[in-house]
């Protein structure tokens, strides 16, 4: 059969192509452009090759920020995933309380990120805030503007408050989609609750859990607004995560070249970790 060529069809794709170009390709290429040049203002650019990349990769400051970022994501995932799952497992599956729980769980997700930062900023104030006063009155010295561990504790707590719901909602959706027959069969087979969790619920939740971990990893790895509002990266640079460091470099110091190189590396790290994780989770799928 002869294939008909009708190139008019391309016109239909054109709008999308233009949109994607302006949204993603052009800005990305601009960044690539900056990352290999040196600028002194007045639109004067000189070629610098991979200078900025090697500078960034060998910079102690970058290493420190990357390490903080990895630690933050690890801690946040280690808390939010099990906690979210635990809450989902204990949420009612039918009846009056289902919508109530669902609305309560979605509330934190509806609050704008900078407001979340502001809420916790005020709440954790050691002299005025409810949380800050409460902790101090227990005899534990707490001041997130002075002590790194207090700042970290507050940021982790804030992120857990803000995002555990997302994990819960995803897991809950996965749980309610498990057909009743599985639970009935397990009952008949004499399975204990732990075995039901281990052999029915967990395997059936694998897909949604993968999505949940990926979303939480990417979001926590790129976190900016909340720590920016809450601590501004301090005290010192103890909560200066990659994104905060990047913005400081780009806008604070106007080092466009290094900042561009840094953001490309940042992007690649997220891409590689996400890809690795997804591949590992899905590897046994059709075994």
């Amino acid at each position: 059969m002869k294939k008909t060529y009708n190139n008019k069809a391309w016109f239909f794709v054109l709008p999308v192509f233009i949109m994607v170009a302006f949204n993603a390709l052009v800005p990305l290429m601009t960044v690539v452009n900056y990352s290999v040049q040196e600028t002194f203002g007045d639109n004067v650019f000189t070629w610098s090759g991979v200078q900025w990349f090697s500078d960034t990769l060998t910079s102690d400051r970058f290493h420190a920020a990357l390490l903080r970022q990895l630690e933050f994501s690890a801690i946040v995932l280690a808390i939010e995933i099990p906690l979210g799952l635990f809450i989902a497992l204990n949420m009612p599956k039918k009846g009056f309380w289902v919508p109530v729980c669902l609305v309560l769980m979605s509330l934190p997700l509806l609050i704008p990120w900078n407001v979340v930062g502001a809420i916790w900023n005020i709440m954790a104030l050691p002299d005025l805030g409810l949380l800050g006063r409460a902790i101090n009155s227990l005899g534990i010295p707490y001041n997130y503007t002075r002590q790194p561990y207090s700042a970290w504790f507050t940021l982790v707590l804030m992120d857990v408050w803000h995002w555990t719901s997302l994990v819960t909602l995803l897991c809950y959706a996965g749980l309610v989609s498990i057909p009743d027959a599985y639970y009935q069969a397990a009952k008949i087979d004499g399975a204990r609750p732990w075995a039901v969790f281990r052999y029915i619920q967990l395997p059936k939740l694998r897909h949604v859990m993968t999505i949940a971990v990926l979303l939480r990893f990417m979001d926590s790895f790129m976190i900016y607004t909340e720590p920016q509002v809450m601590t501004g990266g301090g005290p010192g640079s103890s909560t200066t995560f990659l994104s905060l460091d990047l913005v400081k470099t780009a806008i604070g110091q106007f080092d466009l070249g290094p900042a561009a190189a840094m953001s490309l590396i940042y992007f690649l790290i997220i891409l590689v970790i996400s890809w690795l994780f997804y591949t590992l989770m899905m590897r046994n799928e059709e075994a």
């Binding site: 027959a181 599985y182 009935q184 069969a185 004499g190 052999y199 075994a287």
Partner: protein, 367 residues
Amino acid sequence: MAKISIENLRHSYLPEPTRDEDFALKRVHLDWADGGAYALLGPSGCGKTTLLNLISGLLHPTEGRILFDGNDVSALTPEKRNIAQVFQFPVIYDTMTVYDNLAFPLRNRGVDEGEIAKRVASIAEMLELSSSLKTRASGLTADGKQKISLGRGLVRSDVNVIMFDEPLTVIDPHLKWQLRSKLKELQQRIRRTMIYVTHDQTEALTFADQVVVMNNGEVVQSGTPIELFDKPRHTFVGHFIGSPGMNLMPCEVKGSKALVAGAEIETANAKSAKGGKLELGVRPEFIQLAKKGIDANIVKVADIGRMRVVEARLGNGQPLKLIVPEGEDIPSSNVKLAFDPSHAFVYVDGWLAGDMRGSSTAVGANS
């Protein structure tokens, strides 16, 4: 293994049922012998799955009792009742191997591994799963998965009853037949009580020694496949079982004869018909083309292989179907039909005239 008695069983999904219609299952009495093969047959929503879940203990009855070997088990959990159930959609533990799936119910009961290995091996052989014991259960086809579900029931030697809830729904047509004969063969070999729920008459009639036909939450007839065919106790059974189903014609009664379209037809039970809505029921297999008999016109002839289904109309327009063997001539005009008197029954309000009504409905009707 156990003898199962169902006494006065009623079930409603509503918290406070009052009217008869509130009950998904309206008063059922049944007695099932140990080691038998039983089928619950009926259309969707007739209450057969409800009855099954009541027996397995997944549901608890609103009223009535279930006895296994004379012991009341109505309040016990499925685990305590020691039953096995195969569901409509194959239930397997995805992450486990076939071996671990089969071993699961035994491990949960603390059986030692040596004994488990022996039992799993023998069940796997019976179900032709021996070669795939080490593979992951999720990789199997639907019929393989369904065999695993069955195997998890068989592997426990002490189960009281094995129940099947439309187990062939998701199986490919050509494998359905295979799996069905496998089931029947297993039943005859191990002689465990098995209850098979289905809406497919072929599955029910080929599997079971005793078929319980249900409609609208009540048992309309319980009997051997032959009984259901020869003497349906309710027009529903006549219509639901057999293909094509029983012919039903509004009629009047005169002595032992039924009057249809002006003709007198000798019947088996017209004498005991009194009051109510009267219908004459005759299966297409028991109507013949004859030299003399009732006048009819032929509307359509469908060849279904070894026989033909003939659609005819009586003088008053009443349609009916009959089966004519291959090779017999079908006259084009002046058609006369003869009904077999021993298989022509009069039904009163749907129930076989003169027959003791099922105890289930007799009680149900009073309440």
